[in-house]
């Protein structure tokens, strides 16, 4: 396998540097439907686990080096009501997986959503 060793990469016009490296690129991302469990697209994900209503675990293909990686999530129902997606507090983030919950913003009750998005950044 060939290997490039460079200090910077510039765009085609020779202007701005392109600052996308392994340190700042998303190691994991996924877009899935919590109501059907269909996965629309992913990178670095092996499986999702449907733990129950509005409760999902994203299992990574490659575990992070530790639990200090950064996770971001958001969701929408595709309906009139608003929903929220959070990382689960108890046992949510471990090196090889992350568990999330989705719930209605008005009642706080766990609920399935049609569009759930997760991205994780960090060292693997």
């Amino acid at each position: 396998m060939s290997q490039l060793n460079v200090n910077a990469i510039y765009d085609a016009a020779g202007g701005d540097s392109v600052d996308v490296f392994s340190e700042n690129a998303a190691k994991v991302w996924i877009h899935f439907n919590g109501a059907t469990n269909a996965i629309q697209g992913d990178f670095g994900v092996d499986t999702i686990t449907d733990n129950g209503t509005g409760d999902y675990t994203v299992n990574f293909t490659t575990a992070f080096a530790d639990t200090s990686y950064a996770s971001f999530c958001m969701c929408t129902s595709g309906a009139a009501s608003d929903y929220v997606m959070n990382q689960r507090s108890a046992g949510g983030q471990v090196a090889g997986a992350n568990r999330f919950i989705t719930f209605a913003s008005t009642t706080g009750n766990l609920a399935d959503v049609s569009y759930a998005y997760v991205a994780c950044f960090g060292n693997q």
């Binding site: 996965i39 697209g41 092996d46 499986t47 999702i48 686990t49 129950g52 299992n59 293909t61 009642t107």
Partner: protein, 164 residues
């Protein structure tokens, strides 16, 4: 294993069955479940199946139990079955959700009748509130013997509450 493959697992009877779903990138890499990371690894109670074995109606999702024993008289022929006791509690919770805004509205009706000195209006509002409070102990919930009956009973009660 393909994109429609699933694994149902349940090692804790107090928790709902879990459904493991392979990602497109994992399926592109391997067709072997053993090469894929997820909650199925190490699970004792598990069964491989497909999306056809998973109910599409998730109304009582947290009452799903694994259904792997074909010799069990209650075997559904699929890989998920409803835990009726848990399902009845979910139905009651959903009725409570429906009831909350109705009770708020009836509180206003009662207060308005009180301010107007309308004793008949107060009695009517109080009776409706009592009907709403009694809804979670409706016999149709406990009489239901399967998911279809339970959902039908729950929706009928919710409609009655909303009509108060």
């Amino acid at each position: 294993m393909d994109i429609n493959s699933r694994i149902v697992i349940q090692d804790d009877v107090n928790q709902p069955a879990k459904i493991v779903v392979p990602s497109p990138s994992a399926v592109a890499r391997t067709s072997d479940w053993n090469q894929i990371k997820g909650a199925h690894q190490g699970a004792v109670e598990k069964v491989e199946c497909t999306t056809a074995d998973i109910p599409s109606d998730r109304t009582f999702r947290n009452a799903w139990d694994i259904d792997k024993d074909a010799s069990d008289p209650t075997y559904s022929g699929k890989r998920i079955k409803l835990n009726l006791t848990k399902g009845q509690e979910i139905a009651k919770d959903k009725i409570r959700e429906t009831r909350a805004p109705v009770l708020s509205r009836l509180d206003v009706e009662y207060m308005q009748a009180d301010e107007a000195g309308n004793s008949a209006g107060k009695s009517a509002a109080a009776a409706k509130k009592q009907t709403a409070r009694d809804a979670t102990s409706d016999a149709r919930i406990t009489a239901a013997t399967n998911e279809v009956e339970l959902k039908s009973a729950m929706e009928a009660i919710q409609a009655e509450i909303e009509a108060l």
